[in-house]
């Protein structure tokens, strides 16, 4: 009995089990305790977030279609998770750094990275397709939670240099079980680095549900043990994700240390194109979450406020269609690949043995070219 009393007392220090939200599913502004003291961003910000989400959704749908046509080797869709990705990434500046996973294609889009470059790795052209330094965006990382440590290290280095840089990193609910997630949370808290951790809780790690991943009431609870603030946020409410991330980023920049934010959302599509979600989840659950669509929610609010005119709406649709067209073009274009480049980026100082192997391939290619002539 007494054990339960202590447990209840401990729980009071934890983030709310009810996710924090600023807009409810009907698009009404929320008031009272559920907002956690955060206030709704201004209409201009919300319109900007809406525009980014609509464009990103169109991009995601286009890429999924291209994947089904065999144009991409694989694609981890972000359909339904736009609020989480775009809300969070919109809260950092161009000078800040982003450490994404494979799931954050639409966050990369929001960083201004070209679709062709975002998708290069999924198309199979190269492991990463964009200029990490120019975009201050690290590679889309596949080994789970490893990138969180890179974000902590970079943030620490920036602080040692007295540069007001924040590092934002994403991970999934499954990734929070990895040792590197714990090490990253702990290093960040001990070193008080300007790092913001976004856990996109889309409730499944491939087929494994959250209940098999953690016994904690929320993933935001994890923050408490490391001595940093944790927030459990409605990940389909872009206003809430943006406001909470923005506060965490400001706090980090001001020297206040790291924050862990869990966005509760849902993965509408399969894990990737090679996954069969009907084997592990019910269609009715997917339908339930489709009715909580992050874009529709914000749209209802903006319309009710008279902030989304037909002119703006059609301008956004045009922009989304233009991006989809561009995406189709760059993905269906023939890739220009140079096999000899395989040897070019292994070491800063070229090695004799590698140059020998390069020469061997070069000879093979020349021979093949001569034969085909």
């Amino acid at each position: 009995m007494s054990l339960n009393v202590e447990h209840d007392a401990a729980r009071r220090a934890l983030p709310s089990e009810k996710p924090l939200r600023l807009l409810d599913n009907a698009g009404h502004a929320v008031t009272g305790a559920a907002t956690g003291g955060f206030s709704l961003p201004g209409t201009e910000t919300l319109l900007d977030l809406y525009r980014k989400m609509v464009v990103a959704r169109r991009f995601d749908v286009q890429v999924t279609a291209l994947t089904k046509q065999g144009r991409l080797a694989t694609y981890p869709s972000a359909y339904g998770q736009e609020a989480c990705e775009i809300g969070a990434v919109s809260a950092i500046t161009a000078d800040d750094w982003l450490f994404p996973t494979y799931r954050e294609s639409v966050a990369l889009l929001t960083r201004g990275i070209d679709p062709g470059d975002i998708l290069k790795s999924f198309r199979g052209d190269w492991h990463s397709g964009y200029d990490q330094r120019a975009h201050r965006t690290s590679t889309q990382t596949t080994p789970l939670a490893t990138q969180a440590l890179h974000a902590v290290g970079l943030a620490h280095a920036a602080r040692l240099r007295h540069d007001p840089i924040v590092a934002l990193t994403f991970m999934g609910d499954g990734a929070t079980s990895e040792g590197d997630a714990h090490e990253a949370f702990n290093f960040a808290a001990v070193w008080q680095t300007p790092t913001v951790f976004i856990v996109q809780n889309n409730q499944f790690a491939i087929s494994v549900p959250l209940s098999r991943q953690t016994h904690a009431a929320t993933l935001a609870d994890k923050a408490v043990g490391y001595g940093m603030p944790g927030f459990h946020v409605d990940g389909n409410d872009v206003a809430a994700v943006y406001a909470v991330t923005r506060a965490a980023v400001d706090r980090a920049r001001a020297g206040g240390g790291p924050t862990l934010i869990e966005g509760l959302t849902y993965r509408i599509e399969a894990h990737t194109n090679s996954d069969d979600p009907t084997r592990y989840r019910h269609a009715r659950d997917v339908e339930h979450w489709k009715r909580r669509d992050p874009i529709e929610r914000l749209e209802k609010y903006l319309v009710s406020e008279g902030a989304l005119t037909e002119a703006t709406r059609s301008e956004i649709t045009d922009a989304a269609e233009a991006l989809a067209t561009h995406t189709r073009e760059v993905i269906t274009a023939e890739a220009e690949l140079d096999p000899l480049e395989l040897f070019d980026h292994v070491y800063a100082n070229p090695r004799a043995a590698l140059l020998e192997q390069r020469a061997r391939l070069e000879a093979e290619l020349a021979e093949a070219a001569a034969e085909s002539r």
């Binding site: 490893t146 440590l149 290290g153 920036a158 040792g179 290093f187 800063a348």
Partner: protein, 341 residues
């Protein structure tokens, strides 16, 4: 991003003093940190304690805890955060306390440290050094005496070096820290206390070169790190058997100095390699294969491997039976049919 760099002038050589390898490594870190403020050092117990082998002794007092500090006890975290720091323009030198405790960092090292430059087409290289005290013969308990070099050496993207003496320790660590490629810097624990008269700063051969450390005409013995001494002992003893043994200190496992090794083998026509790690799939297999591929028609006998047994590293009271000794080297050399040459 303001990665400022300060260079000290000239730096006249000091008078030679007796220096241990641990002392030489300490001096290398000190000089690198003094010359370049992008160099930071962290790991477990490297701060006030100065490292369990005292390699970082006194550095925190000199440079403060923004340049050298104790990290949480988490190897993946140490290497993973060093990656982020290197992306930002720092040159982190991190310590894994003992070889077998580097395994939690295995993923960060092989999945990211080794591959970042490649996947980013050279836009992001990681100029970081992972220092790993390695190998045995120090009476350590389990997990304190592993030889993990072949895991790293078979990973493209890494540079893997191992000095065997104080002068190389200083010179090679300075070069490793200055390198734009990530370096796995392996320090043979049993040689930490080996002394030599040194005038610092000292520059020995470039770290990717193997060195002939003793000339001979009948056999080429190839060692690295702790087994260079074993090879030299065996070479001394072989004189009594009428054998002239050439000894090569490999110094770098990756890249591999085929040129120096092949030149020697062509001269002697026989080669043997010595290491502490298990034989099966060990680095000696790579050495034997390379030597054979390049010098088959110059060889009078198969390339031999004198190594530890294919067993988990034994307890302190048994390690003497496991480690390759000069006697085992001599026995191996005697196994060749010398009259065939």
């Amino acid at each position: 991003m303001t990665a400022t760099k300060t260079r000290s002038g000239g730096g006249a050589a000091s008078a030679p003093t007796q220096l241990t390898m641990a002392g030489a490594l300490n001096a290398a870190l000190r000089d690198a940190m003094a010359e370049d403020d992008r160099v930071v050092v962290y790991g477990e117990d490297v701060g006030p304690l100065g490292g369990v082998f005292r390699v970082t002794d006194g550095l925190q007092q000199q440079f403060g805890d923004e340049r050298i500090w104790d990290s949480p006890l988490a190897e993946s975290g140490i290497v993973g955060t060093a990656i982020g720091m290197a992306i930002y323009g720092m040159r982190p030198v991190v310590e894994m306390q003992f070889d077998a405790f580097s395994y939690p960092a295995f993923e960060q090292i092989v999945s990211h440290v080794a591959k970042m430059r490649n996947r980013t087409k050279g836009r992001v290289s990681l100029p970081l050094v992972v220092r790993i005290p390695c190998a045995g013969a120090i009476g350590g308990v389990e997990h304190h005496s592993d030889s993990s070099e072949s895991y790293w050496a078979s990973t493209p993207g890494l540079t893997v070096v191992m000095p065997s003496n104080p002068a190389d320790a200083y010179s090679m660590l300075r070069e490793a820290i200055a390198s734009d490629d990530p370096v796995i810097f392996m320090e043979p624990k049993s040689r930490y206390w080996a002394k030599a008269p040194l005038a610092l700063p000292v520059t020995t051969a470039p770290m990717d070169r193997a060195l002939v450390v003793r000339e001979g005409s009948d056999v080429t013995l190839i060692g690295y790190g702790p087994t260079v001494r074993t090879a030299l002992e065996a070479a001394d003893a072989a004189v009594d058997e009428g054998l002239s043994v050439e000894v090569i200190d490999l110094r770098s496992l990756s890249p591999f100095d085929d040129e120096t090794v092949s030149a020697s083998v062509r001269k002697t026509s026989r080669a043997a390699v010595i290491h502490e790690a298990a034989q099966f799939g060990g680095f000696g297999a790579e050495v034997a294969a390379r030597v054979t591929e390049r010098n088959f028609y110059h060889l009078a006998a198969p390339v031999l491997r004198i190594t530890g047994f294919d067993i988990p590293y034994p307890s302190p009271k048994l390690e003497e039976y496991h480690l390759p000794t000069a006697d085992r080297v001599l026995a191996a050399l005697a196994s060749w049919e010398w009259d065939l040459s």
